[in-house]
Point group: C2
Chain length 98, copies 2
């Protein structure tokens, strides 16, 4: 599983469109579709109902999307935490005294 | 940031060695080192003190590792959740009635 695959399904869910999601992620639509198919194959779960317009997640897809959002949020939090460490906003060096 | 970069720093922290971590991850040691350097550059944080033998995380690295372990655990939980959905262990279809 790739982090960007989670970002792609979140983008499709947000945009309700593979084309707009691809634009949002700055990749081609075939690449986005392929990556999402790879994730669906890895999880053995169909995340989106492609027959509907606009595209909607399946019931199982909704549950996967909820967890994917949590993981991506944790990754963003790690990056934010690293920026805070770089700006020395956190008293990390005080931990040495613990 | 790549999920596998988080897995690599966890492996080095567990094995206390880049060589053993590479073996554990089934990749070459130069690939592992390069991926970890990429992550350190992305976060602008030195995660490991390479002067020490056995290798140890820096103080900032320990904080990053703690968060990385949380993210990787969430990813494993998502995969486990998908397996449960596939085995219909979760009453997902009942949600349609909600």
């Amino acid at each position: 599983m790739l982090l960007r695959q989670l970002e792609y399904i979140i983008a499709v869910d947000t945009e309700r469109s593979f084309t707009r999601a691809a634009d949002r992620c700055c990749i081609t639509q075939p690449t986005l579709s392929q990556q999402i198919r790879c994730l669906e194959a890895h999880l053995n779960i169909e995340i989106f109902n492609r027959q509907q317009v606009p595209v909607v997640p399946t019931l199982e897809g909704q549950l996967i999307l909820e967890k994917a959002r949590g993981i991506v949020a944790e990754v963003r939090a790690l990056e934010q935490f690293a920026r805070q460490l770089n700006r020395k906003e956190l008293a990390v060096y005080n931990l040495e005294a613990v």
